[in-house]
């Protein structure tokens, strides 16, 4: 895939792990403090990973690495995640 897409693409892969729709959840960027719906994040799709970057400062919010036998989610770039009930 050329260039980036956006957080809408996270809906399927993360539905395997979470009961809620991640695309409607909001996150706060640790780096710049921007609060945005995850659908608005920039997503770089690599063969075995998804790199989610802040729409405002481009720092990494989240990395999802998909291996054949496990999925690893790095969430260091988020201060919090808010999920609508």
């Amino acid at each position: 895939m050329v260039g980036h897409v956006d957080g809408n693409v996270l809906a399927g892969p993360l539905s395997e792990l979470f009961q809620f729709d991640v695309t409607t959840a909001s996150a706060r960027c640790v780096s710049c403090g921007d609060v945005a719906t995850l659908a608005c994040a920039m997503v770089y799709v690599e063969p075995a990973s998804l790199i989610v970057r802040c729409r405002n400062c481009d720092d990494v919010l989240m990395v999802i690495v998909q291996e054949p036998d496990l999925t690893c989610i790095e969430l260091r770039g988020m201060a919090w995640l808010q999920v609508p009930r």
């Binding site: 260039g3 897409v5 399927g12 659908a39």
Partner: protein, 248 residues
């Protein structure tokens, strides 16, 4: 959606029909037991598995909306793609396809929310096959008899590159369609061929003063140019929802 629908589970769809949309794109009608209907604007993941077990998964917007297990996807062939050439050139009626969805609750339009009809104006802006989720919203608008004013600005390279051309050339009541051709316009077309500009948005989209809900979908470059221009024109960024599908 109703109880028992499991969007996160891979399902098997059977190709019921294919329709040529453009020289490089077609729509695919699938029967997907367990799909259970979708909200306009949602998407699906499609997974192909090679004989050696290698899998490739891609997201595609759903052109259909409402209840039922019949799903319409529309796909444009990316020359270097791993999935789209198969879907556009090789898939035939009766073939099976792994599909997961409906997915995503953000880039969606609902005719009513908690029993209240949504009457606010809606501006749809699509580039190329970015029309797909917007067509679902138009169909949902029509099917529900919604009174919300709808406008569509559809940017395509040439008249031959339009998806759902017939449907959009004779729009339903309550929908205005503006065509923006970027490479070649029909003879005598008032607007010269060229990319969508701030002036186009000012002339043809609902103004910011009406506070429309705006949905923009298309290649990443198109979406970002249009979204930035809308903000420049005074639209509230929180009213602009975008869906990028990469490329350019």
């Amino acid at each position: 959606m109703t109880d028992g629908i499991k969007p996160n589970v891979w399902k098997v769809g059977i190709v019921a029909e294919t329709r040529t949309e453009t020289a490089s794109g077609r729509s695919i009608l699938l029967d997907v037991p367990g799909w259970g209907g979708n909200i306009a604007g949602q998407h699906a993941d499609v997974r192909l598995t090679a004989a050696d077990g290698y899998t490739a998964t891609r997201s595609y917007s759903v052109a259909s909306a409402g209840p039922g297990d019949r799903v319409q996807l529309a796909v444009d062939r990316l020359p270097t793609g791993e999935v789209s050439p198969y879907l556009v050139d090789d898939l035939i009626v009766g073939d099976q396809l792994e599909i997961r969805g409906p997915l995503g609750g953000w880039f969606v339009w609902k005719p009513e929310i908690d029993g209240a009809e949504q009457t606010g104006p809606v501006q749809l802006i699509g580039g190329g096959s970015g029309i797909v989720p917007l067509v679902a919203m138009i169909r949902s608008h029509t099917a529900s008899g919604s009174t919300a004013p709808f406008r569509l600005l559809y940017s395509v390279r040439t008249p031959d590159d339009a998806f759902f051309r017939t449907e959009l050339t004779e729009p339903s009541r309550g929908l205005d369609v503006t065509w923006a051709y970027t490479r070649r316009a029909p003879d005598g077309w008032p607007r010269p061929a060229g990319r969508v500009t701030t002036a186009d948005l000012e002339a043809d989209a609902f103004p910011a003063s009406l506070s429309p809900a705006v949905f923009v979908c298309g290649p990443t470059g198109f979406v970002e140019t249009v979204a930035n221009a809308l903000v420049e024109l005074g639209h509230d960024p929180s009213r602009i929802k975008t869906e990028r599908f990469g490329g350019q």
